[in-house]
């Protein structure tokens, strides 16, 4: 929608211009030569393997360097060297199955929190039950959203709870879906100093290309997606194996699960075969388009943690601007202390009428040019862009906050002044 301010990145990110161009050229290629010998060469070895005529025809595909090349670029985005093992899959749920298996093959009690993504938590619960192991879930959500807890206090609290429960594994989000930054790296270090963690997995779905990779380093396995903050839009799950000590364990477990069809993901199977140069010719026909939009999106991603930090600072400043606008418009920011703040901002209405549906609030915002996530308890989530808001953007947000506030119409109806400033009238 032209002129719309898209602030729903936490759900599905807006496609970046470079991702769009690469993707469009890939679509053109598939329209012209969906399965030629050149196509296979290109897939495996990249744009450079093509003859000049092809290179000239599909210039936007220049960034494609084969599956191995894409994996190297992705590894760099999480601060890992070229030899870091990277897995690509159509569905991140398939990778989550792997995470659950790895955790409960090595650990007997895995620490999680109440801000973990519920569907991921269900995978863990199922595997824990199957293997006769346990999960310890610590309550931190209210503590973080209410504020008043510092980074050090949170780290000590989690380390202490982990020690008391006898946890030997960890699965936490690097950034929760409500936008709270989890200092997973420090948490791992604090726990490890008392009891050695056998396996650490981190859900970086909301953190990848949003916060510096150093904040979620130190895990054995990291899962993320390219369709949110990276701006590839096309859904694709990724897993990274940063620690050398676990690579062989992960590799073997993955192979066993794929062979036993416990993990059945066509893109994962295909990319693994392609990278090894051993296409079996019998695998399922796979949608490989996400590889190209991802590859294109990397061009606009922050090249290192320094750039990432700068982007995050801008996103936080944007969140400050929106918070200020919200305060004047009948909304209240729900923000944790600065240590935990990210580019996701939560707002809740000062007065929530009894009847207020998430869908109607979302529609009201969209009508005023802002796309964001809404919840039934009146909470709204805005994902801040990487560039500073313009004055027009702020005006648009302010107006939408005033007019899309739940109960706004009902307050106005008795006064018969539908276009007046609601705050002034109610005052």
């Amino acid at each position: 929608m032209i002129g719309t301010l898209y602030l729903d990145t936490a759900r599905l990110g807006q496609m970046s211009p470079t991702a769009r161009d690469t993707y469009l050229d890939f679509v053109r290629l598939t329209a012209e030569e969906p399965s030629s010998l050149y196509f296979e060469e290109f897939l495996q070895h990249g744009w450079a393997a093509w003859p000049a005529s092809y290179r000239n025809r599909f210039r936007a595909l220049e960034s494609w360097q084969g599956v191995a090349g894409l994996k190297h670029l992705l590894a760099r985005l999480v601060g890992q060297p070229r030899d870091c093992r990277v897995l690509l899959a159509n569905r991140s749920a398939q990778l989550m199955k792997l995470v659950a298996r790895l955790l409960f093959r090595r650990c007997r009690n895995v620490l999680t929190s109440d801000v973990n993504w519920p569907s991921y938590q269900r995978f863990l619960s199922a595997e824990a039950t199957r293997t006769g192991n346990s999960i310890t879930t610590i309550p931190v959500r209210d503590m973080l959203l209410r504020g008043g807890i510092t980074r050090d206090e949170l780290v000590s609290f989690i380390a202490e709870e982990s020690f008391k429960a006898g946890c030997d594994g960890l699965f936490l989000p690097a950034v929760s879906n409500l936008g709270v930054l989890f200092p997973t790296h420090e948490i791992v270090r604090a726990i490890d100093s008392r009891v050695q963690l056998r396996f650490v997995a981190v859900d970086a779905a909301q953190a990848f290309c949003h916060v510096p990779a150093a904040s979620y380093a130190g895990s054995d396995l990291l899962i993320a997606g390219c369709h949110k903050w990276l701006g590839a839009n096309q859904t694709m799950g990724m897993a990274f194996c940063p620690r050398k000590r676990s690579r062989s364990f992960i590799e073997r477990t993955l192979r066993r699960m794929v062979d036993a069809r416990q993990i059945d993901d066509p893109l994962l199977r295909f990319t693994e075969q392609l990278e090894r140069g051993q296409l079996d010719g019998y695998s399922e026909t796979t949608n490989i388009a996400p590889l190209f939009s991802c590859c294109g999106a990397i061009d606009m991603a922050p090249a290192n943690d320094l750039e990432q930090e700068q982007q995050l600072r801008i996103r936080r400043l944007n969140a400050d601007v929106v918070s200020e606008a919200a305060n004047d418009s009948g909304w209240m920011p729900v923000r944790s202390v600065t240590d935990f703040q990210t580019g996701i901002l939560l707002l809740k209405p000062r007065h929530l009428p009894r009847r207020s549906s998430a869908k109607s609030v979302r529609a009201a915002f969209q009508k005023h040019g802002v796309i964001l996530s809404t919840y039934d308890d009146g909470l709204i989530r805005l994902s801040m862009p990487r560039r500073p808001f313009t004055d027009d953007n702020v005006a648009c947000i302010r107006e939408s906050l005033v007019h899309a506030r739940p109960g706004y119409r009902r307050i106005m109806r008795p006064l018969s002044l539908p276009h007046a400033d609601p705050d002034r009238r109610t005052a």
């Binding site: 093959r105 090595r106 056998r198 050398k244 000590r245 690579r247 062989s248 364990f249 073997r252």
Partner: protein, 303 residues
Amino acid sequence: MAKDVPNCGNRRIRLSYRFAVAVGGGVLLTAIVCASSGPSVQSALLGILLSISIGLAWECLSRQRPMGRDLGLLETPFFLSHDTQVFDRYRQISQSLLTVSQKPDPIYREVALEELTRLAAECAEVAAGKIVYEGTETWRIIYDKLLRSPGLHLYRSVAWVKNANYWQDEPGRQSMKVNFELHDNGPLNIERIVILANEVWPAKEPLPVERIHRWIREQNDHGIWVKMVRESELAQEPELIADIGIYGSRAVGVQELDEQCRTVRFTLTFDFNEVTKAEERWNRLSVYSTSYQELLDRFDLDE
């Protein structure tokens, strides 16, 4: 023999005056209620009395059930007859004892009695939950059965590696296959602490000799949590140096090996107290040992 065990079998039960008083009281109460109240109150009273009677009878029966160790010799076969498998063995042993008893040769009798004494001691060990396998690898059959038994979720093993031959022969490899199969797919979690002789893990080396390192690495690759300790580091607590397996909270196995790492004796004990003691040893041993993962991290080694 005869202890004061109440038995309803062949003996007549002498009833006390309490029984007469209780029955008399109950009859009188019922008669009064029947005469003075409606049918619903009568039914309620009848129900209450019946419930009390069933409850008391049940309690009485459960108290009267004899325990094996309190049985008299003559009552033993009656009790064992509930368990046909054990009763079969009882009959075979009794038959053999009868045969032995009928042979008059004094020399034979002397030897037979010695042998029977030994067998009685073995029986007592078995009864105490202890099974001993000597000079054979057949214990691995029961080891396999134990690991596969439903409800077993945790197997903790202490491997005392005296030399590089440890579990490298065919029976050892087969047992490792069972470990891997169950740990990979099943609900079994395996953890192992490896005590390594100094010749297998020289003091200045980051990792053990190649053959044993490969054995450890393979376990680690399957997700088995492996910790390691040099034998010399346990000099202060030599009682911790042993080759044991803790099968959930069900049993403990102790393997004794010769210098060539062949099984001399394997003792399996199904006793909760022994399991608790073994767990305590395991915890103490854990304090001295370092995980293989930590070593990989420390020396920045690939798996």
